[in-house]
């Protein structure tokens, strides 16, 4: 039986108590994306300011409410993608989902697991790896991935508008 300390690592509690990048950004130029977990009512509001010239996440702000896992994961995600090129942010999304044992690209038939491993080789999750303990608590995986799905949604929406 995994214990509470597997789930609630100190760095997670730190992000929960002192969330990074809280706030809002003016839309436009920023893109706003909202994610909900219908099971528990958790909510993530994400503002992404992407520099169109360098395709880099210039700034990110987060709002919303939820449990420690969803809010800590949101905070950590915001720190991880701020200042990163968009394609690197997308790689982080895939790497984080792989950490949560979710292999979407494989399910969608885009590539098999070995390609994913190769692609993600060298992607450094850093502090985010503290969330790995969530995998042992299956009902909480959705809490951890909410922020990342919202990020993906925000990036997709921006691209579809640009296109």
């Amino acid at each position: 039986m995994p214990g509470l300390e597997d789930l609630y690592r100190e760095i997670i509690l730190d992000h929960y108590r002192s969330p990074r990048n809280r706030g809002e950004l003016p839309v436009p130029p920023a893109t706003k994306a909202e994610g909900f977990n219908p099971l528990c009512g958790d909510e993530v509001v994400l503002y992404l300011d992407i520099d169109p010239d360098s395709e880099t996440v210039r700034d990110v702000k987060i709002d919303g409410q939820g449990c420690s896992i969803s809010q800590a994961s949101t905070s950590m995600m915001s720190s991880a993608v701020k200042g990163k090129p968009v394609d690197e942010a997308r790689k982080l999304i895939r790497a984080f989902k792989a950490l949560m044992s979710i292999h979407e690209s494989k399910l969608e038939g885009e590539s098999d697991g070995s390609d994913l491993t190769a692609e993600l080789d060298g992607v450094r999750l850093g502090d985010l790896e503290a969330l790995q303990g969530v995998v042992k608590f299956p009902v909480r995986i959705k809490c951890a991935t909410l922020a990342w799905n919202t990020l993906q949604q925000g990036l997709d929406e921006r691209e579809s508008v640009d296109a």
């Binding site: 609630y8 608590f137 909480r140």
Partner: protein, 412 residues
């Protein structure tokens, strides 16, 4: 305090309490979601499977007749428990959600048109909200909401105006989130005076207190078996016989007909008109055993026990956590049941439930399928502990100790 139920004996009747969770005794405080099952219920279903398993209402042979007798016997027990005028007023369904949908899809579709008002309340479970939303979209009926007061009661100030022209009042007898008990007779009288029928969501009431559909003077009452010690897969709707007679079938198929031709069909009599396909008749034997079990305890004793234990639990929570823990529900145990929702200021309901699980304490943390109510309360979710016949003060004490641990763990 004087015990109205011998809980240690009751607990011994439930095999699940023989197990441990994380090395600790199972503290089950989620009966408002689904109750545990006494050995008598498990035995009744096994007996049905082993001794007279055969489809009901079809076979001419002995065991089929025994099986049918058991199924119809279960219906009679439900009718007696609810004080129905006749056994045929009980229609079995999959659960109360299906019972609510039966009212919406059969009675309401036939009787409601554009602009016809349906009145519900802010404390309804989604099962008594979404079917009406669907009719708003499909038929253009008008949905009206009775608000709640700051002390978690229905706000009846504007009741007459809300009921003006209404065709149906659909209301819960006991909130699954707040524990609030609503005065169904008072609401029935007001609705009938306005010319509206009354549909009662009794999912939380039937397991926990004496219910008398005639004393309520209701028109429809839905219930579900798995919250009242019975198995999953079987609930039902009580309705006045003349309403059931006039209602069109909801699900079409086997057993719900008297004749099927190339150009149409003749529906079966009530209640079988509404019981298409093979019904969960083994589960009906389980439900009958559950009703026998509850009746042996006595529904008055069940209610008295839960009132005592709710008072004990509320007081223990108040004394230990003072105003750091918000209890979303009435304080007066005469006006509430044993579903207790609460929230710490800065700790999410899920995180609380996670810590409790480590101590073997099972509570629900969610919006409890009552999102409109969560919006009124201004919270995304609550943690809920709910009490039943197998709970005693030791369960309340375990809850309080585990909550203290959660508070400490997440202390800022």
């Amino acid at each position: 305090m004087t015990e109205v139920l011998d809980v240690s004996r009751v607990k011994a009747d439930f095999p699940i309490f023989e197990r441990k969770v994380n090395g600790k005794p199972l503290v089950y405080l989620d009966s408002a979601s689904s109750s545990q099952k006494p050995r008598a219920v498990l035995d009744a279903m096994e007996h049905h499977h082993r001794h007279h398993y055969a489809n009901v209402h079809r076979g001419i042979y002995t065991i089929a007749e025994e099986s049918t007798a058991a199924y119809e016997g279960a219906r009679a027990k439900v009718a007696k428990l609810l004080n129905a005028r006749a056994t045929g007023e009980i229609v079995f369904t999959k659960n109360i959600t299906e019972a609510m949908n039966l009212v919406a899809y059969s009675w309401a579709r036939k009787n409601l048109g554009p602009g016809d008002p349906v009145v519900i309340t802010e404390m309804e479970h989604h099962a008594n909200v979404v079917p009406w939303h669907i009719l708003v979209e499909e038929r253009g009926v008008e949905l009206r909401w009775i608000p709640i007061t700051d002390d978690f009661q229905l706000d009846l100030t504007d009741l007459d105006r809300l009921l003006d022209g209404a065709k149906l009042l659909s209301v819960t007898a006991m909130s699954n989130v707040l524990g609030t008990l609503n005065d169904i007779r008072l609401l029935s009288d007001a609705a009938h005076a306005a010319g509206a029928l009354v549909n009662v969501d009794a999912a939380q009431a039937v397991p926990h207190l004496p219910v008398d559909v005639q004393a309520w003077d209701a028109d429809f009452v839905g219930f579900t078996g798995h919250k009242m010690l019975g198995p999953t897969g079987l609930g039902g709707l009580w309705a006045r016989a003349e309403l059931l007679d006039a209602m069109p079938p909801f699900l079409g198929g086997g057993e719900m007909i008297t004749d099927v031709r190339f150009d149409g069909f003749e529906p079966n009599e009530v209640p079988w008109k509404f019981e298409a396909g093979t019904m969960p008749f083994v589960e009906a034997s389980g439900l009958a055993a559950a009703i026998d079990y509850l009746s042996a305890l006595g529904m008055d004793a069940v209610r008295a026990h839960e009132k005592q234990l709710t008072e004990y639990t509320l007081r223990a929570l108040e004394e230990r956590f003072e105003d750091r823990l918000h209890i979303h529900g009435p304080r007066d145990v005469d006006r509430r049941g044993g579903a207790i929702s609460f929230l710490f200021d800065r700790i999410h309901a899920h995180d609380v439930a996670q810590v409790l699980d480590e101590d073997g304490v099972c509570v629900r943390a969610s919006h409890h399928c009552a999102k409109p109510l969560m919006r009124v309360l201004g919270v995304p979710a609550t943690t809920r502990a709910s009490l039943y016949v197998y709970n005693d003060e030791s369960d309340a004490d375990a809850l309080v100790e585990s909550l203290a641990k959660a508070e400490k763990f997440f202390a800022v």
